[in-house]
Symmetry: C2
Subunit: 294 residues, 2 copies
């Protein structure tokens, strides 16, 4: 199970209800953060997402509300005795390394890299890649995509006499000699399995790149700072409306949409939810602590 928790669902300025941008993904026991606004370490404590297990942080762009929490998190990890070889990778667009230096995060375990479009982090069983979005000229979204795999098909296995130790042999060598002396290849008894896919936009106005990146995703986490009634302001500030996010989700045929980066002008989000679901039924408006399992 991949556990996704919205740690901070606010935009630009925090409120009592919403902390600043951060989404945590827990995969195979490790934690990956997408953006890391001020106060993220405390949100991790609040929503039981182990900060000690943080492996990598992916920063979408260099507005202060998306990265200021890096410093405190690293400070805490250092106090907790994190070793230089237990790397915390920090990725972000051009200028990220310089900013992180300014935050005085030069602990031995910090490995910060400026990245552009393409694969940025290879983990055990998944890859995170970046794509350019439309918010200033230096903003990225990220795709967390599990490697494709295969599931054994019980009926086919039974038919061809695959049993016991043969399963492991098939996985290791790709073929095995089955009961009747017949050579069986792994493709004969398995069904390809798509890897799970989560897409995080950071800040962006509506753009095709998101739709392309999110094609068929299990979860799209899209910013939606304003409702449609403020679409002029959204466009001027290069933000998406909730409807923009929902339309992108629909076009990309994702399974679920979570809209985050909600302006502090919305104390009640019932109208935003209604607006989103008009365009895409499987929409949620994020709140701090919202949890999704995939």
């Amino acid at each position: 199970m991949i556990r996704v928790v919205v740690l901070g669902s606010g935009a630009s300025v925090p409120s009592v209800q919403r902390n600043l941008a951060s989404v945590a993904v827990r995969y195979d026991g490790d934690v990956y953060l997408f953006d890391c606004g001020e106060g993220t370490q405390r949100q991790m404590m609040k929503y039981r997402m182990s900060y000690a297990k943080a492996k990598a942080i992916f920063i979408s762009h260099l507005d202060a509300d998306h990265y200021l929490g890096i410093a405190g998190l690293c400070h805490t990890l250092n106090l907790a005795g994190r070793k230089p070889e237990e790397k915390l990778f920090i990725y972000g667009p051009r200028g990220t390394a310089r900013i992180v230096e300014g935050l005085r995060c030069s602990y031995g375990f910090v490995d910060v890299r400026d990245v552009g479009e393409g694969g940025v982090h290879r983990g055990e069983g998944f890859v995170v890649s970046a794509f350019a979005v439309k918010h200033g000229n230096n903003a990225l979204g990220y795709v967390f995509e599990e490697d494709a795999g295969r599931n054994f098909d019980k009926a086919k296995c039974d038919k061809l006499g695959i049993e016991g130790i043969m399963f492991r042999e098939l996985e290791q060598k790709g073929e095995v000699v089955a009961g009747k002396g017949k050579k069986v290849k792994i493709g004969d008894v398995t069904i390809p399995k798509k890897g799970r896919k989560i897409v995080y936009t950071g800040d962006t106005m509506r753009c095709e790149a998101v739709v392309r990146a999110a094609k068929g995703a299990d979860l799209l986490i899209h910013e939606g700072t304003f409702g449609e009634e403020l679409k002029m302001e959204a466009a001027e500030k290069e933000h998406a409306t909730v409807s923009d996010a929902a339309r992108a989700a629909k076009e990309a045929k994702v399974k679920k949409l979570v809209i985050t980066h909600i302006s502090n002008r919305y104390e009640n989000t019932a109208a935003l939810l209604k607006e989103a679901r008009r365009a895409f039924a499987a929409s949620e408006i994020a709140h701090d602590g919202l949890e999704i399992s995939i």
Copy 2:
């Protein structure tokens, strides 16, 4: 009334219960912060201490848990349209200006200055001065002290015929010709009034400088990271125990003591409170949102 709110009562690492160090003093409508740990702006929102009214921040020392909130607060003030002439003064020990630059806080309204012992900020009706404490070799405590004034003595005023417009004339010119043609000086009809005094230690082990600075204060806010059972650790890390803080309060004959910067090892502080009150009855263990009026 001076309103004092502990915005963050934790030490080094935040917890769900305690945010990082910051104490707000509201005086004459303006807000002064003593330390500004990560997440302080949100704590201000939570405890209704207007961030827009922030006039000055006094940083005790350059451990990250005491200053990382500056960046986010300034970012928010900038988004709120704070003008260059509405200065936010930031004072701290040697190195503060360089750190604040690293935090990319170079907004027009930011005026950051490295300071040493002595008067650092003159406000309308009060002065804030710094004194060296014992935590590393570059740590300061601060004294917020209201100017001395005078209160009119009703009996004396009545006796000498002071009434109506004469009060203002006395305040402006220092003397007035009273009803019977007699010259009355302001000293004849007033009683000197001591200014209110608040002392904030930042991080420090027990030291004489605190006792001297806090002499007769209305409120001493002293760190007390550990209980007496961890006094060795406290000494090694140059922190005070709760008992150290209480003894300092007693020696300085302050009216009230608030002990803050509580280690996250203490979920329950009943024993700490007992320990403090054994040495000094008017002690409190701070929690986030603790409010004192003076």
